[in-house]
């Protein structure tokens, strides 16, 4: 069967055709980085009373107009606002009430004079040496939010301050999209579980752990389904089982043509299967396979670990965003950083090349150093901080050129 290699754009478009995996309700203490599956609407004004933002005296602004060090205003002290309570005193012309930061502005007052700008004359009188404008040092009712405001839309990814705001609204549990479960299968007669000692010709299963941690980093739940031999019956049985248990299946391995053909045969053996992608015009990562069975996507990923990681960053990250219901107002879910390329890099036209780069900072400038090395080597990924794309219409990029580095999600670690 002839299958045309697809462009990156075509593949990304195909991946948008899947749906989020469902919803659940979580407590806000467990909501960091979760994705809202519904809106959050404010049911009340926030704050729901006017508060002082300073220690001082609640006053009528008018009573302070013209006040200065040489010509202070004298106000009668009428008491103090108790924190957490409703003020008992009203501020009438010529009076002031002592108030602390966060205290409720008493009726009649419309501003707060900072304590630094007042002097106590006696128990009953204060001298105000600075004028205040109406609402000065006051957080008015509804300043943060008005009742009825849509605070967060469906698809928002929650940060600490977002959770704080939701807490402030008194909302303890929220509807979110479920975290997608990813069944990861490693294939290859030469691949063995990591707890075994490889005999000559055998290698340990690196990909399951790399891809598993990649899933976690992107908010998904990996299920490591172990190593499967290059055998049609074994692979078909495994894929069927994983397909039932998980929201998506990632089969890694099969770098040889024979193994790749086997993966395709296994995927096509399912009744509902549709082969969506068989080869992508990128390097590394060309021999990537994507199939759809029912509502689920199955991926045949390159066996070379660096190829698999490039495919994961470029396609699986946005795919997990789709399954997770994420909606962004900007960007593609990756962080970018500009850097100067340290060496010329050639590229074959007709495919998007992704080169691994090490970032180096010298004299305040950021440089991207290409790491050359076979895509079977994981050390090239470990040495790299990100990827630089050489577009398929470009023949190469040159030393000194400014490039956009797609950063590997930094583990709150290196900052560039």
């Amino acid at each position: 069967m002839f299958f045309k290699v697809k462009t990156s754009e075509e593949v990304l478009e195909i991946l948008k055709g899947f749906d989020p995996v469902g919803t659940e309700v979580v407590h806000i203490e467990d909501a960091l980085n979760r994705v809202l599956s519904g809106q959050i609407v404010s049911e009340e004004d926030m704050p729901n009373f006017s508060r002082s933002s300073m220690d001082g005296y609640a006053v009528r602004a008018k009573d302070t107009f013209g006040a200065s060090d040489s010509l202070p205003a004298f106000l009668e002290l009428k008491g103090e606002v108790i924190m957490g309570g409703t003020p008992t005193d009203r501020v009438v012309p010529g009076t002031a009430v002592r108030i602390s930061t966060g205290g409720m502005i008493p009726e009649g007052a419309d501003a707060v004079v900072m304590i630094e700008h007042c002097q106590s004359m006696d128990d009953k009188t204060i001298e105000v040496c600075r004028s205040v404008a109406p609402l000065e040092n006051v957080i008015a009712r509804g300043d943060d939010l008005r009742a009825g405001t849509i605070v967060f839309g469906k698809g928002s990814i929650l940060r600490p301050q977002d959770i704080g705001l939701i807490a402030g609204l008194g909302v303890e549990t929220i509807p979110v999209y479920k975290r997608p479960t990813v069944g990861i299968i490693s294939t290859g007669d030469e691949v063995i579980p990591i707890d075994l000692r490889p005999r000559p010709g055998q290698v340990r299963d690196i990909n399951s752990y790399t891809l598993g941690a990649f899933c976690r980093q992107r908010g998904a739940i990996p299920m490591n389904m172990g190593v499967c031999k290059d055998d049609f019956d074994e692979m078909r049985e495994t894929v069927g089982r994983v397909l039932n248990a998980c929201d998506t299946v990632w089969i890694s391995g099969g770098s040889s043509v024979g193994a790749r053909d086997m993966t395709v045969k296994v995927l096509e053996s399912f009744a509902e299967a549709r082969l969506l992608v068989h080869g992508i015009a990128i390097s590394p990562g060309k021999p990537t396979i994507i199939a759809r069975i029912g509502a689920k996507a199955l991926f045949g990923l390159p066996g070379h670990v660096a190829s698999a990681m490039v495919v994961a960053e470029i396609y699986l990250a946005p795919f997990l965003s789709v399954l997770s219901g994420e909606r962004r107002s900007s960007g593609d879910g990756h962080l970018y950083r500009q850097a100067e390329l340290e060496r010329n890099v050639e590229s074959a036209s007709g495919r998007d090349d992704y080169i691994r780069v090490r970032l180096n900072k010298r004299e305040g400038r950021l440089f991207a150093e290409p790491i050359f090395g076979k895509s079977g080597l994981i050390s090239t990924l470990v040495d790299a901080q990100g990827l630089v794309k050489i577009d398929r219409n470009t023949e190469g990029i040159y030393q000194g050129q400014t490039v956009e580095v797609m950063l590997f999600t930094p583990s709150r670690g290196e900052a560039w």
Copy 2:
């Protein structure tokens, strides 16, 4: 007591004086973003045999020298390398052995000719139309790593590919620093738990949830200790209890001078207490208190949530790095992005000002729009993507100026 306000640099230096909180052993499946407390040393060559990186024929490179389409080299086909096994055939001059990607290079061979460059004449003979150099299409033993190499140093924060490499070495469990536990106390007579309906004058406890999620984002374990009244005995009892249970104590609230003094009194009432910081030359966040009791740091954070978050980003993030044993080769643990300032911002000299900014992308350019608003408003944080520092020796920054935006840790969300 007179206590000099400290500079940011002094505070950051003081925070380096604490120690990581201890170590534990975890499985590599739970190791994403964890911090190594010991080195990882490779005990074997990786790979531990020479492998083919292509489908093709293992040959002696010499036998292909000069081969071309018009003048191919003829080689005797001696069999096939079984994946995962030791080749039974030896490559002697004039012979080739069929090999798949990942297969073990047979004795005598030093290169692989890609299958695309060969033609099968009959069962016993192939035609090679391209010459290969020694080691071409071969991943040699030890190409990834030599035995004895220090792969990761103490303090490394593990990314997916790092975990993959460790898996490849057959290491299943690794020593890491414990995740620090953070006891979070909200104080204030006006603050109530979020499940209660506020009466006039009362507000819900926003800070505990904001700071709690901030801890999670930075790899720490928050323990929400609830709301404490502005009462010496209650606060002292609470702080004492939390101090025993957690690695560090964060008391948020006390925006009023009275409440702040109370926090200081409570901290100083512990026998071993040393007050390290009482006020920092930044805005917002000036009224920050740091004390040391035994090996633990206690923080009195501003009650205004935006102030508390600025203090968290600037001081608590690096402090958690110290407790977590993180060691960076670059940066301060924050991501930065350059943007053009959209408006003039004035600043009082003598303190570092941190302004909240919204990022806007227009025509491929990134703009930072200052968000003005009282630091008691959480909506200003929710609208912001990061902070811009105005150094204390600067009187302001101007519209059009390029600024470095310290990004709030993005939740794999917006990308700039």
